[in-house]
């Protein structure tokens, strides 16, 4: 319905998009800058990338980020999926409360969460490092999985599980043979999102990482306080590339799942996908 023949909407959209992408583009461009100061362009160079790959501290931080991401996302997947499925079957007064509280981590500002974890973990005398990080990250990853799986379960025909039981499947078999395969796309989407959230996190990580353990975002954060160096630009560019790769992987997974018969779920993608016009939005500014 193009009643507006003016180019105004298009121009506006373009300008805002430019505004959004400009910083990112600049970061990438200057990562190839020969010179150390970002203002002057001295020529194309990959030397910062070379330095980056030789920086052990950064590589360690990268490893930490990845391990943390995978561990938290797995823990959240297990707890969250079982929880979401169980919540649809159990009828207890406490149900609503538990659901509400377990989604709190993405609803309250991160700073509060970080501070609260720090205090609590201290009192419990937990070792600050990977342990506390995984616990904290799992806490804010669970809600993503919980929401997605719950939405998927709502769209699933309950007769399918009943049919399985009718044919002789025990509750566990029903879960493994029928429920799990059908909610898998939602679990995967949730995991992907959770993984991205974990990789991205700065605020909570700062509080609970302890003196020695650094994740990638922390490294970038501490560096920026000292001033900008093109090495960080290079790091940022690589992180950007990884992000795009993960996004592409997500698209690929989505495509593959659509081939493997997602139909049978009554409503279409009941909340299971990221890019179909429904992006999970959190209240504390976390990207994703």
């Amino acid at each position: 319905m193009k009643r507006n023949k003016t180019k105004l909407p298009g121009i506006y959209l373009g300008l805002v998009l430019l505004f959004i992408y400009l910083p990112i583009i600049l970061v990438v461009i200057y990562s190839f800058n020969e010179s150390k100061t970002t203002a002057m362009w001295k020529g194309f160079s990959l030397k910062w990338y070379r330095e980056l790959f030789q920086d052990i501290a950064i590589l360690e931080a990268l490893q930490n980020s990845l391990v943390l991401g995978v561990l938290s996302c797995l823990a959240a997947a297990v707890v969250g999926t079982l929880g979401a499925v169980g919540l649809t079957k159990v009828r207890h007064r406490s149900k609503g409360v538990v659901e509400y509280v377990s989604t709190l981590p993405i609803m309250i500002p991160e700073i509060i969460l970080g501070m609260v974890f720090l205090a609590f973990f201290s009192v419990l005398h937990l070792p600050f490092g990977m342990v506390t990080l995984v616990i904290a990250h799992t806490a804010f990853c669970i809600p993503y999985i919980l929401m997605m799986v719950k939405a998927r379960m709502a769209g699933m025909d309950p007769a399918l599980e009943e049919a399985a039981m009718d044919l002789g499947a025990s509750p566990m078999r029903t879960f493994l043979d029928i429920t799990l395969p059908l909610i898998m796309p939602a679990v995967m989407s949730g995991c992907l999102l959770a993984f991205a959230m974990s990789l991205d996190d700065v605020v909570i990580t700062i509080f609970v990482n302890g003196p020695k353990l650094n994740t990638l975002p922390i490294k970038v954060y501490t560096q920026t306080k000292f001033g900008v160096t093109p090495k960080i630009n290079a790091l940022c560019t690589i992180m950007l590339a990884v992000t795009l790769a993960v996004l592409a992987a997500g698209q690929l997974l989505r495509f593959l799942f659509s081939l493997a018969g997602r139909r049978g779920v009554r409503r279409g993608n009941a909340g299971s996908h990221l890019y179909s016009g429904q992006v999970t939005i959190t209240e504390d500014g976390k990207s994703g």
Binding site: D157, A159, L160, E162, A163, A164, M165, D166, L167, G168, A169, S170, R173, D177, I178, P181, L182, A260, G261, R262, R263, G264, V265
Partner: protein, 355 residues
């Protein structure tokens, strides 16, 4: 005792604050095709689910071949269900769907393949092994659902309005199919429908249900020609419910005073007293219009229309109530407003609601 494959004793069930089943007692014989017939909300689906084990009754027992299975989970009962929307597993192909029950019982692969194959021939879907449910039409999915249930050779097959989603032609064809299958396999079928035509065509016996109780259990003939309650009379076929008072008895018949006049009724063994209030059910097609007013009843024609191939005439009685008479063909000589006499055979006036 072994002749009864299923017994429901005193089944009661409520959901939230609603009494859905108020005491169901049912005995089903091995190998019979029995239908639970009733309007939405009468409790037929709940009864089926209780038999399957998908719901637990609040009170009462379910006996399967004499054994109390009331507390057994659905996967522990030798009963299989064909669900209303088929509930085919979308992530499995036809062969895997059908073979699921057998896989759970750890039947050897080769045997599964053979059984699946023979099932597919039975439902006339040979060659469809690798297809996915999403690729099948409604009728095909339905047949797969039936095959999936039957392959396990259950003691009872439960069918929850399986033909509801199909168009009329297909429905009629499937009715024949199902009846044929049942006769061939000899498995007890418990069928649910709200369609009286379906029930009459397919069943050995019909259970008419209304608001959580069984109104009447009997063969199609019994239900149709000898309804015991006014609900059954009206639900199956078209019936007029007429109240009256017994005037006097004459052998095995009674003369009943109704608003339209005196009617002759077969007592059928019922012990009637003079002055007793009774209710009669007379089917529309049994009300004959009498041109020459003999000893019959009188009324005035209120409406006439032509519906479904039948000439339908509404007769207004002096007390304001109406009777519907229907017959084949058309009669343009009858006018609205005309005084008319009508009668029925003594065997066609059935005493109902006799407590």
């Amino acid at each position: 005792m072994e002749d009864n494959v299923l017994e429901l004793i005193g089944i009661k069930k409520h959901f939230q604050d609603v009494e859905v089943l108020e005491g169901i007692d049912l005995t089903i014989k091995r190998g019979e095709f029995i239908t639970l017939l009733g309007a939405s909300g009468c409790g037929k689906t709940t009864t089926l689910r209780i038999i399957a084990g998908l719901e637990s009754p609040d009170e009462g027992k379910v006996l399967l071949e004499g054994q109390d299975v009331t507390d057994l989970a659905p996967n522990q009962r030798d009963v299989n269900t064909v669900f209303q929307n088929y509930a085919l597993f979308p992530h499995m192909n036809v062969a895997d769907n059908i073979g699921y029950g057998l896989r759970l019982k750890k039947v050897p692969k080769r045997e599964i393949r053979e059984k699946v194959s023979s099932m597919l021939s039975l439902v006339q879907l040979e060659g469809y092994e690798k297809r996915r449910p999403s690729e099948l039409s409604g009728g095909q999915r339905q047949r797969v659902a039936i095959a999936r249930a039957l392959v396990n050779n259950p003691k009872i097959l439960l069918l929850d309005e399986p033909l509801g989603a199909l168009d009329l032609q297909l429905r009629r064809a499937m009715q024949m199919e199902l009846k044929r299958l049942q006769k061939k396999l000899g498995i007890t079928f418990i069928y649910i429908t709200h369609d009286q035509e379906e029930a009459i065509n397919m069943s050995d016996r019909i259970v008419v249900m209304n608001q959580g109780i069984c109104e009447q259990i009997g063969t199609a003939d019994e239900i149709y020609n000898h309804p015991r309650t006014s609900y059954v009379a009206v639900f199956v076929g078209n019936a007029n419910i007429i109240s009256g008072q017994v005037d006097h008895l004459a052998g095995d018949q009674a003369v009943v005073d109704t608003c339209g006049g005196k009617a002759l009724v077969n007592t059928d063994g019922a012990r009637l007293q003079p002055k007793e209030q009774v209710t009669l059910a007379v089917r529309s097609e049994h009300i004959e219009l009498d041109e020459n007013c003999g000893c019959g009843m009188k009324g005035q024609i209120a409406e006439k229309n032509y519906v479904g191939g039948m000439h339908r005439i509404v007769i207004a009685l002096p007390d304001g109530s109406r009777l519907v008479s229907s017959r084949c063909g058309m009669d343009s000589q009858i006018e609205v407003g005309q005084e008319i006499c009508f009668r029925w055979n003594s065997s066609h006036g059935v005493l109902v609601d006799r407590g």
